[in-house]
Symmetry: C2
Subunit: 338 residues, 2 copies
């Protein structure tokens, strides 16, 4: 791979569109001198944000006109028929045509999944792509997959997820032998549903991974595993339930500190500490979920991402390009499953 | 049902056995003058705790000798063969022989499930019992089922859970028409795995429930539903993941308030508020999960329950006896599924 690389940005995606995605991309271009960007979206919506570019940046930006935008609420299945003129479609196409090394979008997740799979195809040996994202732990973070791309998974799919997750963690976090855990409702061999029990046997037999066995929900955040594997239904519900409880704790906390003047003063005094804590736990700091298993790099940003937060998704894309994650997955799958 | 009722207590179950379970039961007898208790366990382990009883309490206590105890780590399937002399087995038998209206145990959950099903049988029309427990929400609490009894559920099972959960919430919380939600990864009809989509149709067609449709993981704690239905695999992982995140937040919080003397003083000043908050969120305050769908009332306490906490499980038993929850479920199932 050359030292120069290009990201195709679906600038229309997300709640804020070009207002967020274009300035975030320009910032990334400043940070990464070897990076070029193809801004895919409605030309008229993009150009107002391209004033006052320095020559150095301007020469690394290209606008690719796409008249349509896929709505956040659009049915993923319909985007195959109706989405061909959309910014998301065209951004993915740039990757399939080798005109960009990665696509970053804050758009409709389901559509990105469907279009990504259709346009880029899965890697040989991979049946289904999976969504992987980092999750905070006591000691830092771990990666969890799948987070919602696949609601009905077989044991073989879970094995593929385990291999892909391990490869990505190895590449991006530079951990030599990531500890891979399978999410289950107990740690004993007899526990769990049929797919999980079978998947555990497959991962063990496969032998090439640093498999630490089952881990329970409460160990998701304990730092026990570097990669946590589960089906997309369970993964989505585990993460969202946790978010829900965090929100409940925060609400109870706020109302506790509003009872009376003394408590209000305390809250005021404690606010720098609380803000620091909030920052540490902020999900936007781990923005940038990857769609692993495709013949190309696709990064999904939160729809509600602000400029800084969209920047994290771009950083994730750069890290995966630099490590050529798809090629590494391909090799491991050939090596381990052939 | 007579105004007088009896609970069979498996006093040997849990991490602390009779040391916790017997005093907790004696306290409950003081609170509920119509309650009698059969203390099931090893006689020699129980009698030391029965000194100095007032005549009023003494006449409502009976010790039922059971020489064996089911170990917390025992394989549930083996307890059917080897557990017949155990306190758990004998406590459940008292319910099946109509010598007690409910059984309360802090013992091995899997064993309680297997023995409960074998000794008490499921209610007509119910294929599988489910574990239900309350979960804190912004506005109070909701009930969630199943929490781990059934790892592979069909849509019909989820429908039965919905009916049972609705009945219990109606009876115990006196809510006329509990809002029932189905846990899923999105709110649109097309989202979710096959069982959940089919279950949603079944619950809708069934018509008799106040079904509010899908709810996502983050709405578990928002108070949107009074009853949340899911399979035991998902339910267990949702709750445990949330617990894990709460622990992570608490750890980060503590370490944030340990950096420097000023923050330590702040933490000290804030400690009454934090303790109040901790109390509000304390899972032991919602101790007492019910095994719904059996021909009898069975309440599972946390294994680590202390005296006060085991008392909540006894209270739950009293509430379900007073409302005769199994009979109500039976009626609803006949009414709705016949």
């Amino acid at each position: 791979m050359s030292d120069y690389y290009t990201i195709a940005v679906d600038v229309m995606g997300g709640d804020f569109g070009p207002r967020v995605t274009v300035p975030a991309t320009l910032n990334a271009l400043k940070r990464y001198p070897h990076l070029s960007a193809k801004l895919v979206g409605h030309q008229e919506a993009i150009t107002p944000f391209l004033n006052k570019l320095t020559a150095d940046i301007a020469c690394r930006v290209e606008v690719i006109h796409a008249p349509d935008t896929i709505a956040m609420g659009a049915k993923p299945s319909q985007t195959l028929r109706n989405g061909q003129q959309s910014s998301m479609y065209k951004a993915l196409e740039l990757v399939s045509e080798h005109k960009a090394e990665a696509c970053v979008s804050a758009g409709n997740t389901g559509a990105l999944m469907v279009l990504g799979r259709y346009i880029l195809r899965t890697l040989p040996g991979i049946d289904r792509p999976a969504i992987i994202s980092s999750v905070p732990t006591v000691s830092g973070h771990c990666y969890m997959l799948d987070l919602g791309a696949n609601v009905d998974c077989s044991a073989e799919h879970l094995l593929q997820f385990a291999i892909m997750g391990s490869v990505m963690t190895q590449a991006v976090d530079e951990i030599a032998s990531p500890r891979v855990g399978l999410l289950n409702i107990g740690q004993e061999q007899v526990k769990g549903n049929e797919q999980v029990k079978l998947a555990s046997r497959l991962i063990e037999e496969q032998g090439g991974l640093n498999y630490i066995g089952y881990i329970e929900g409460d160990d998701l955040y304990s730092g026990k595993a570097d990669v946590v594997v589960c089906d997309g239904f369970v993964g989505n519900i585990a993460l969202k339930s946790s978010e829900g409880l965090a929100r409940l704790i925060s609400k109870k906390f706020q109302s506790s500190f509003k009872k009376g003047i003394y408590r209000r003063i305390l809250a005021l005094l404690a606010s720098p500490v609380l803000n620091e804590l909030k920052k540490q736990m902020d999900p936007s700091r781990r923005n940038g979920a990857s769609l692993l298993g495709l013949q190309g790099i696709v990064i999904k940003s939160h729809g509600s991402a602000n400029k800084k937060c969209f920047g994290f998704a771009l950083e994730q894309a750069v890290a995966e390009i630099e490590q050529n994650v798809p090629r590494q997955i391909c090799r491991e799958i050939e090596d381990k499953l052939a």
